[in-house]
Amino acid sequence: MNWEVVIGLEIHTQLSTKSKLFSGAAVGFGAEPNTQTTLVDLGMPGALPVFNKEALRMAVMFGHAINAEIGMTSVFARKNYFYPDLPKGYQTSQMDHPIVGKGYLDVVLDDGTTSRIGITRAHLEEDAGKSLHEDFQGMTGIDLNRSSTPLLEIVSEPDIRSAKEAVAYVKMIHSIVTYLGICDGNMAEGSMRCDINLSLRPKGQKEYGTRTEIKNVNSFRFIEKAIYTEIERQADILEDGGRIIQETRLYDPEKNETRSMRSKEDANDYRYFPCPDLLPVVLTQEYVDDIKTSLPELPSQKAARFQSEYALSEYDASVLSSSRAMAEFFENANDVVKDAKLTTNWVMGELSKLLNQEQLDIENSPVNAQAFGELLVRIKDDTINGKTAKDVFQAMWNGEGSADEIIEAKGLKQVTDTGAIEAMIQTILDANAAQVEQYRAADDDKQKKMIGFFVGQVMKASQGKANPGLVNPILARMLKG
């Protein structure tokens, strides 16, 4: 059977506010347990929530970035369930009137095609605390630092049709929220988590199949792998004539499998109702418009500008604009070099290669944009050639100094003295008289192939320092005899 996969994603992004969604406690990863809590976060009777202005602003920014309708009146609702990491007995969330309504994103895939993914809504809600199940003599330890941390839950339409498309979509959301500066995007620390709703249907069928939900997947790679394994699991069941049970599952990266979470009876009976402790949030058009005009340049806009301003290809522009840090590095380096083509080649080539090798983000590059630009200037002004520049870059990477210091210390400056080059070439021609004779006897096409031998000899004799731009014409002239 030929199956079509149908995927919808719920992405929880942690908003990078200083304080919590409904209290004045600090937000932060890795603090001592329960040191960032207040009476509100602990759900003490009589403690009242007050809504964080900045969380609202961030949510509206995101809404603009996905071309969405902004909820001019949004309402907080209580989602009721019992779990010890949620002492109030309900999560304050939004149901019927979310802050961000329908929007969409155009996602560019690796093969250059674009698909439009609908976004149903994005709503504000508070995070719960953490349960620690080890080491407490049969008890569970509760840390409520994370409780009431602001989350924006971004819910997509079931528009996604492959694992690759899902990953491209999540990467795009990741890039938007980090460009906007509303989320640090640190997936390992849980700042972005993804729930995957997935079902299969025979190709051509209109109705959706029964779906499962895979909870809390927290890396791009795991999202892709979890989708592949779940597709395989569902296809096996369906092809054996079985039925899919609608349930919540967990992805185990070590075993590369999804397994059923023991879900309690009535687990989904959340009995939502408007939160009586919070009044409706009403926005003015002026407020919403002001946020729109102050929005920073978004990844897709930056990519378009890179194409027009620097004459980059669509592919190069999309790679360089994929993260804000990468785009800034490129532009800062190019401000020094003033040669977009050269800068692009080096950022996407040597720099990316070394970053990948050492698994570093560009923010942590040991060579900063200014120093990187200064190196490229030395290629541009013919002080060194491209090959030597790679060695200089490696030395800069290892902390041996600036480009100029390394070129000076290692004596790597190109030989641009025509007389010196001519002398060098003459020595080589004398030492290879037979090859010179063959060359002179050959026709044009053959000569073009044979000249490489002589260039190689000259570069070797000069230890790579002869300027190839000078060597080639002089060599051609002298070979003519």
Binding site: N34, G138, T140, G141, I142, P274, L279
Partner: protein, 95 residues
């Protein structure tokens, strides 16, 4: 409109309330009469009326994004029946 005893037990379970048989009888009766009242209210024509999410005709006030609260962990943990290593301890939950 009336609800049966199973509904009553389900509602009690969702709210984590333990009901005796006698309690359940009583709640079945009183919840049913509340629902009858709701049923009566539903006969009012509400076409074009926005659902009310709060009876107060006011809107939410906002708070500046500043940390105003300091660490009071010791005071909070002192209220807990059991605590260890800065954590609240609760009966083991496996989910």
């Amino acid at each position: 409109m009336s609800i049966d005893k199973q509904d009553v037990q389900k509602i009690a379970h969702l709210a984590r309330l333990a009901l005796t048989e006698a309690d359940a009888d009583q709640y079945q009766h009183s919840l049913s009469s509340v629902l009858s009242l709701v049923e009566q209210m539903q006969s009012v024509n509400t076409d074009g009326v926005e659902p009310l999410s709060n009876p107060l005709e006011m809107t939410q006030r906002l708070r500046e994004d500043v940390v105003t609260e300091e660490n009071r962990r010791d005071a909070f943990l002192a209220n807990a029946p059991q605590a260890e290593a800065g954590l609240f301890l609760v009966p083991k939950v496996i989910d």
